[in-house]
């Protein structure tokens, strides 16, 4: 130990006076104990952002974090808006609130307004994306192209998180920013601003991905096989852009003209042309993967994980028939009839159903992010409202006859928009069953009232999810520009 020799040398080993000894001890204490560098103790239990950004391999973990956030939010969304869209129930026998809070309680009930759980998770994801982007931008080991690729990846998921926020709360708007200082409140902006932000972010991601070189500086999970380079991931990005542009067009947000006018449908067609759309492979698309390994998650909607996640009986009743008299193939593939019907339990108002999903049978079945089948239907929709009605009917039938094995649609180029929408919503309902689209679809075309209400006396239809109580409380008394709508003063 050199320090010992240094110490001896400095103080001399022999013939010391005691005062010198104590003086040397004082020097030792000062040197060893009183330098403030000694107080720079790291956190031994959790990584700090600083430690992560210093480790070139750590970007992989952060990228996984972005995917795990997105995956973590999808099950709750599908199950929650499945109830609002009368696709599904969560008939947990010992928890009546899994029914009442979604179907019966006033939307702004602070205890359990519909969708109070479908809020913070998206902002948790945005926080991780915010941190990820900062890490990337501060990185000294990534090349410019790698940075662009990583940013394009993060921006795409940023838009994906905000999509659900605004799909749930169109009348209220939402904050789109994550602030550096988490105690500082981001303002609520309007629905149209949120949509503009989302499409702007997707377009920025496109620019970044195009400058992103041949590969990401991390690997993307196996659910994204085929979409795991900047060039192929861009096709997924464009698929999301098509979904957003179609929503914007159908809602008539500012910049798109009146509802159903062609401007943004034109954009959607362009997005689709750059996406992975493939009428010959309707199942194509990235997915969230699950596993039974320790530490991993299982598919929360699978029959194995959740046996009270059941289907609305109207799905059976409304299914059209194939030429041979059997129901729509999509119904047969995704739903079965249980031996015994299941009700909401106890005194909870609601109806029994004997329909249950087999869409996700095993706990390791992946949940799709967005599929070619949806893209073909989006193209049909965009074509119809940009004047290519024949092309629209062709795309509709490409799904209807293949996926549903049904006879071609009776639509013609002279059919009304209403007839077309009814036909489109039927195809979308069965093609995208429990993929979280039904409630969004009926609302964006103003057809919420077409949904059935099982117990009219005590149940209702929701046009928006609630702004959660915790969000209201933390904005209570805040300046007007950051107050949340529907929360009161």
């Amino acid at each position: 130990m050199p320090s010992r020799y240094t110490w001896n040398a400095r103080c001399g080993a022999r013939h010391l006076s005691y005062v010198t000894v104590v003086g040397c001890a004082a020097v030792w204490v000062l040197l060893a104990g009183c330098n403030s560098d000694r107080l720079m103790v790291p956190d031994y239990n959790s990584p700090t952002p600083g430690a992560v950004s210093a480790d070139p391999g750590a970007l992989q973990f952060a990228a996984n974090g972005i995917l795990i956030d997105a995956r973590g939010n999808i099950g709750g969304w599908i199950s929650g808006v499945g109830r609002l869209g009368r696709e599904s129930y969560d008939y947990m026998q010992t928890e009546g609130r899994s029914t009442t809070c979604w179907l019966s309680k006033p939307a702004q009930d602070p205890a359990c307004g519909a969708g109070s759980s479908l809020w913070g998770g998206y902002y948790d994801a945005l926080r991780d994306i915010f941190n990820f982007k900062n890490t990337v931008q501060a990185s000294t080991v990534l090349s410019d192209a790698q940075k662009k690729a990583a940013l394009g990846f993060a921006e795409t998921f940023e838009a994906y998180a905000l999509e659900f926020v605004i799909e749930g709360r169109g009348h209220y708007g939402a904050p789109v920013q994550v602030m550096e200082d988490p105690a500082q409140l981001a303002p609520f902006v309007s629905r149209d601003s949120v949509y503009s932000y989302i499409i702007g972010t997707l377009n920025q991601a496109k620019v970044d991905l195009q400058a992103g070189g041949a590969s990401f500086p991390f690997t993307v999970t196996s659910g994204f096989d085929g979409f795991d380079t900047p060039a192929t991931f861009l096709r997924f990005n464009r698929a999301l852009a098509a979904r957003i542009d179609a929503e914007r067009a159908s809602l008539g947000v500012s910049g798109c003209g009146a509802a159903l006018s062609p401007t943004c449908y034109q954009a959607a067609l362009k997005d689709l042309s750059e996406s992975f759309i493939d009428p010959a492979n309707l199942a194509l698309g990235p997915a969230f993967v699950f596993s039974t390994a320790p530490g991993d998650n299982q598919n929360p909607l699978s029959n194995a994980s959740n046996n009270v996640f059941v289907a609305h009986p109207s799905i059976q009743a409304d299914a059209e028939q194939q030429a041979n008299g059997s129901p729509d193939q999509r119904y047969t593939d995704k739903v079965y009839t249980m031996d015994a019907p299941l009700g909401p339990g106890g005194a909870v108002p609601g109806i029994f159903t004997d329909q249950d999903f087999i869409r996700f049978e095993n706990p390791t079945d992946p949940i799709p992010v967005i599929r070619s089948e949806e893209l073909v239907l989006l193209r049909s929709e965009a074509k119809w409202f940009t004047g290519d009605k024949v092309g629209a009917i062709a795309d509709l039938n490409a799904v209807r006859t293949v996926s549903g094995k049904l006879p071609p649609s009776t639509l013609t180029a002279s059919s009304t928009n209403d007839d077309y929408l009814t036909a489109l919503l039927y195809e979308r309902r069965y093609s995208l069953l429990i993929e979280g689209r039904r409630w969004v679809d009926v609302r964006r075309f103003g057809m919420l009232n077409t949904l059935p209400v099982d117990v009219p006396a005590s149940q209702m239809l929701y046009d928006d999810l609630v702004i959660p109580e915790a969000e209201c409380l933390s904005r209570k008394g805040a300046p007007a520009d950051v107050q949340a709508p529907t929360c009161g003063g």
Partner: protein
């Protein structure tokens, strides 16, 4: 640490070869006797003014011998209980006679005022409690915490359970923090020691707190239990900030200074104590008697509805058959058998001390075996201590203290559970009609068919026969102090002191529950094994300079007796590394954690602090006036700003009016003000990421939901303290009174963040709480002679309040089980220890509101000592008035329709049996007050009858025996209380900062009886 040790070694080596400077002169002999009665005073300390290396001690005849340098010298003779006396010994004189006056109130005992300074108790300006050796060891105790119960006014000292190996907490002057530490700082001979609680993993068996490996409900012992009370000379409790500010950021909860015994020159003196005793449960719950099968069936099987279906009837018949077949007898006393272990407990303590003028030693060894009352439990502690004092000439003295400890406990299973594995829990639901203790011919225990049956239930006899819940602690505490008298003159002295030490322990936990136990399948795995390890290191070092100025009495500063200026710097370090490995689904017969499905956890912490201090103490006007002022500046690695020094100032003063009126010996008025701190927790400052699990086989990192705060700073307490001490009639009557008033600001809190921030909560400083109270004491010694009676009565009242809170009112974690059973909530305008729960209003609605307070209205202690010649009788009663307890015991036993008083008459002529009446009044938790019960009690804590064999007989004994004493002692002999559960002082959640009110199937509190024999030679 290694660097420090090697440096110390070098330092000591240098000292050992340093030239000896002491001039040997002459030898003086003498005898010290009591002024009243003339009996010899044993153990009096003789020192020489201006020669710190010279120390001697009187023997059993009061005689001493001391080597002095040539020339006139002044000797100081002192011992606890007598007034100190200075004797001038001219150069020619070689023997002295000293007669010491009694000091009943021990006013001349020295009280520590700083890192390296002290003052006589008569001058001290703050309320400091001192507990002497004899008071700690008179009645054997499980742990030091136990031994301090009832002896420190201004503190609530409670044992969490009766499990062998201890486990209890000391809360001084109320609640000072909510999330920060609530524990006092413990300093042993200058070494800051750990009082950590390391949970061993019982949660893996009980699932009390869900699926984690360990939890705060594990009934773990805190490590204060490792200390050997026999080694302790005195315990000083610095309560207020005016006394403790010198310990800075760790002083808010008070500082407990423990001083061990040291050697004095002379021949080796042996002190041997042998104790033998037995522990019994102080209180058990009993259970309901079922006189017939029919009564059992009627109680547990609901009658069949007239319109029942065939399947209902089949279920009914099966249930009736189950209870009918199970019934064997009206009553088996399960608890008497389960807590019926009466193995011999023993304690052997041997110490020897002695030395030469330059070298003194104190060596002690203790082995203590405490048999638990629960089957298969026990604790064994072994202590070895070596204290050495070495003078190097006239000016330099070195003091070294080392203690080696091994502490092994087997604490069985107790407390809350979620799978009916905890004995008192499952018994609540088990009618005592079946002999669960009887093994069949193959040696198997019967399955408990009740409490859910199958793996939902357990047979506690089987559980206790096979489980292992051991912890094995090795600990070393070593400290050193080097004093250098740099300057000594008539008017000035400068002493430099280097003080430092290390406390290290390693705790090894082993838990094993074999696969065949009845409850084992409950978590989906057969068999559970946990291996835990905690490695804890603490280190502190300080360098101090004390300049004592004694001006000439004739000069301009003649009014001043002494001015003591001290300054120094300190370094402190704590490190802990804990990990647990658990295996479940074990192959049969092996507790190896390699043989199952594994999971694990690890926590590491490291805290480092640096501080400077300065202090001035003035003693003036013939030692009537005492003024102190000082500060500590401290910075720490746990603060947000690690370079910033936080300053903790203090000031206090006292004035003694000597003989102001006839009959009044002395009246002292005192006042003090001080600030102290409480550190943020390790990691509070760090903004971290968290492992969010795996996706596609790879780990993922996301933001932690709790945001660390890079600006976090210590909690700050400001305390004012006023007091008056008076003694009358030659110390026959004495009174002490103290009022304290503490305000704590910058509390550590977690503030919820807007969900749209993407984070859950943030650690902040803010809010304000107060704690105010009274400490009063009355000491009487009316008879002194052949018959003497000494009495000490103390009173303590404390009241805390939440003044302001910058976050919404919140429930304190681990303070209870929700509004149905009462728990702590922190809400502005309410008591800090207010207990909230549901109350049903007359209109039938119910609301969660304040239903009590965990803090007693007051506590009082009555200690009396009667001696008649060689016989003495000592009693200690402890009275707690008020303070509620969440009596989950009663709730469980009523819910199980199995309370011992279930069939008693209900009040108000209600026709239901008492148990049913209570349970239904509780109304599923809408009326929490049924089970949130008054915890008032009076306990006979300690009773001792002792006999000192007269000297005339001792002298005739073989060998060189100097003294022989026999005593019969009892602890917790009786409790007078109307409380239903096991004990109002136990805590299911262990040590808690705010309140600990939950009594839930604990390890029953002990009553103990011991016979002790003490021999000195």
């Amino acid at each position: 640490m290694r660097t420090l040790l090697s440096s110390l070694t070098v330092l000591l080596a240098v000292l050992a070869v340093a030239p000896r400077a002491q001039a040997q002169g002459r030898t003086v002999t003498g005898q010290v006797t009591a002024a009243e009665g003339g009996q010899p005073v044993t153990g009096a300390i003789i020192t020489a003014v201006g020669h710190p290396g010279i120390v001697s001690q009187t023997d059993e005849q009061g005689k001493f011998r001391v080597s002095l340098p040539a020339g006139a010298i002044t000797l100081v003779v002192r011992t606890i209980g007598y007034k100190r006396q200075e004797i001038a010994v001219p150069a020619s004189q070689s023997s002295v006679q000293v007669r010491l006056a009694r000091d009943v109130l021990k006013l001349q005992g020295m009280i520590v005022t700083g890192q390296a300074t002290s003052v006589a108790r008569q001058n001290i300006a703050t309320a400091v409690s001192v507990v002497q050796s004899a008071d700690l060891t008179r009645v054997p105790a499980q742990s030091l915490t136990n031994a301090l119960q009832g002896k420190v006014p201004g503190a609530h000292i409670t044992m969490n359970s009766g499990a062998p190996g201890g486990g209890g907490q000391i809360q001084i002057r109320g609640v000072t923090s909510i999330l920060g530490s609530g524990e006092p700082l413990f300093v042993l001979d200058g070494v800051i020691i750990s009082n950590a609680t390391i949970e061993g993993g019982m949660n893996s068996l009980t699932a009390a707190s869900g699926g984690g490996i360990s939890s705060s409900e594990d009934n773990a012992a805190n490590r204060l239990a490792d200390l050997n009370p026999n080694d302790i000379a005195s315990v000083e409790v610095l309560k207020g900030a005016a006394a403790s500010a010198i310990y800075g950021e760790k002083a808010t909860n008070g500082v407990i200074l423990i001083t061990t015994k040291r050697g004095v020159s002379g021949r080796p003196r042996f002190n041997i104590t042998q104790r033998l005793g037995v522990n019994t449960p102080e209180h058990l719950l009993g259970s309901r008697h079922f006189s017939s099968t029919q009564e059992l069936v009627d109680t547990y099987v609901p009658p069949l509805d007239p319109g029942a279906t065939a399947s209902d009837s089949a279920k009914y018949n099966a249930a009736v058959a189950m209870y009918t077949n199970a019934y064997q007898a009206p009553y088996f006393d399960y608890q008497k058998a389960l807590y019926g272990q009466r193995d011999l407990s023993y304690e052997t303590d041997v110490s020897v001390s002695g030395g030469t003028d330059n070298t003194k030693y104190f060596v002690s060894g203790t082995i203590k075996r405490d048999a638990g009352t629960e089957l298969g439990t026990g604790a064994t502690r072994q202590n070895l201590r070596v204290n050495l004092d070495q003078s190097f000439g006239d000016r330099v003295t070195a003091h070294v203290s080392t203690a080696f400890i091994r502490d092994v406990t087997d604490r069985g299973i107790s407390n809350n559970n979620n799978n009916n594995a905890s004995p008192l829990y499952v018994l609540a639901y088990t009618p005592a009609v079946i002999n669960l203790a009887a093994r069949d011919s193959s040696g198997s225990y019967p399955e408990n068919p009740f409490a859910g049956g199958g793996s939902n239930s357990s047979n506690p006899f089987q559980t206790l026969a096979y489980i292992k819940n051991n912890s094995d602690v090795y600990r070393w505490i070593g400290g050193g102090r080097l004093d250098v008298q740099a300057i000594t003159s008539d008017h000035n002295s400068l002493t430099l002191s280097a003080i430092g030490g290390v406390d290290w322990f390693n705790q090894d936990d082993e838990l094993y529950s074999p696969s065949f136990l009845q409850f084992e399948p409950a978590d989906g795995y057969l068999g559970t094994a946990v291996q835990g390890n905690a490695d804890n290191r603490q280190l502190n070092a300080s360098l101090n300079a004390v300049w004592k100025y004694s001006p000439s009495q004739s000069g301009i500063l003649g009014f001043l007796n002494t001015a003591t200026t001290s300054t120094g710097l300190q370094y402190e370090e704590t490190g802990v590394n804990r990990y647990n490995l658990r295996a479940r689904g074990l192959v049969p017969g092996v507790g190896n954690i390699d043989q199952g499905t594994r999971d694990q956890s690890q926590t590491r912490e490291a805290v480092r602090d640096q501080a400077y201090y300065g202090q001035e103490e003035l003693l003036a006007f013939n030692s009537r006036l005492f003024l102190t002022g000082g500060f500590r500046a401290e910075r720490s690695s746990v603060n947000g700003d690690r370079k910033k020094f936080y300053i903790f100032p203090k000031a206090s003063g006292s004035y003694r009016f000597v003989n102001p009126f006839p009959g009044v010996d002395e009246v002292k008025l005192r006042a003090g003000i001080g600030t102290s701190g409480n550190q943020p927790r390790y990691g509070d400052r760090d903004q971290t990421l968290a492992l969010a699990g795996q996706i596609d086989g790879e780990n993922a990192l996301t933001a932690s939901s709790t945001l660390g705060n890079p600006h976090i700073k210590p909690e700050k307490m400001t305390e004012k303290e006023f007091g008056m001490d008076a003694s009358f009639l030659d110390q026959r009557v004495a009174f002490e009174g103290t009022r304290f008033d503490r305000t704590i600001t910058d509390l550590l809190l977690t503030a919820p963040l807007a969900p749209s921030s993407g984070l859950g909560q943030e650690v902040i400083n803010g809010g304000e709480i107060t704690s105010k109270g009274w400490e009063l004491a009355l000491t009487l010694s009316p008879f002194r002679g052949n018959f003497s009676w000494g009495s000490h009565t103390s009173f303590y009242h404390v009241q805390g309040e939440v003044v302001s809170l910058p976050v919404p009112a919140f429930t304190v974690p681990s303070s209870g089980f929700g509004a149905a059973y009462g728990r702590s909530r922190i809400a502005p305008g309410y008591s800090t220890t207010a207990i909230w729960g549901n109350i049903t209003h007359p209109d039938g609605t119910f609301a969660d509101t304040v239903i009590g307070d965990a803090t007693p209205k007051f506590t009082m202690q009555f200690s009396n000592i009667f001696t008649w010649k060689a016989l003495s009788l000592e009693t200690l009663f402890d009275w707690r008035h008020g303070g509620v307890v969440s009596d989950l015991d009663n709730n469980l036993w009523d819910e199980g329709k199995n309370s011992w008083d279930y069939d008693h008459k209900a009040p108000n002529g209600d026709p239901r049996p008492l148990g049913e009446y209570r349970y239904e009044t509780w109304d599923g938790g809408h009326n929490a007050l049924v089970y949130v019960q008054d915890g008032s009690f009076v306990k006979l804590r300690e009773l001792t009858l002792s006999y000192a064999v007269p000297q005339s007989i001792v002298d005739r004994l073989p060998g060189n025996i100097q003294a022989l004493q026999v005593s019969l002692t009892g602890r917790n002999l009786h409790t007078w209380t109307s409380y239903w559960g096991i004990d109002p002082e136990v805590s299911n959640f262990g040590n808690q900062t705010v309140s600990h009110i939950v009594d839930l199937a604990p390890y029953p509190v002990n009553r103990s009886y011991f016979l002790s024999l003490n021999v000195r030679f």
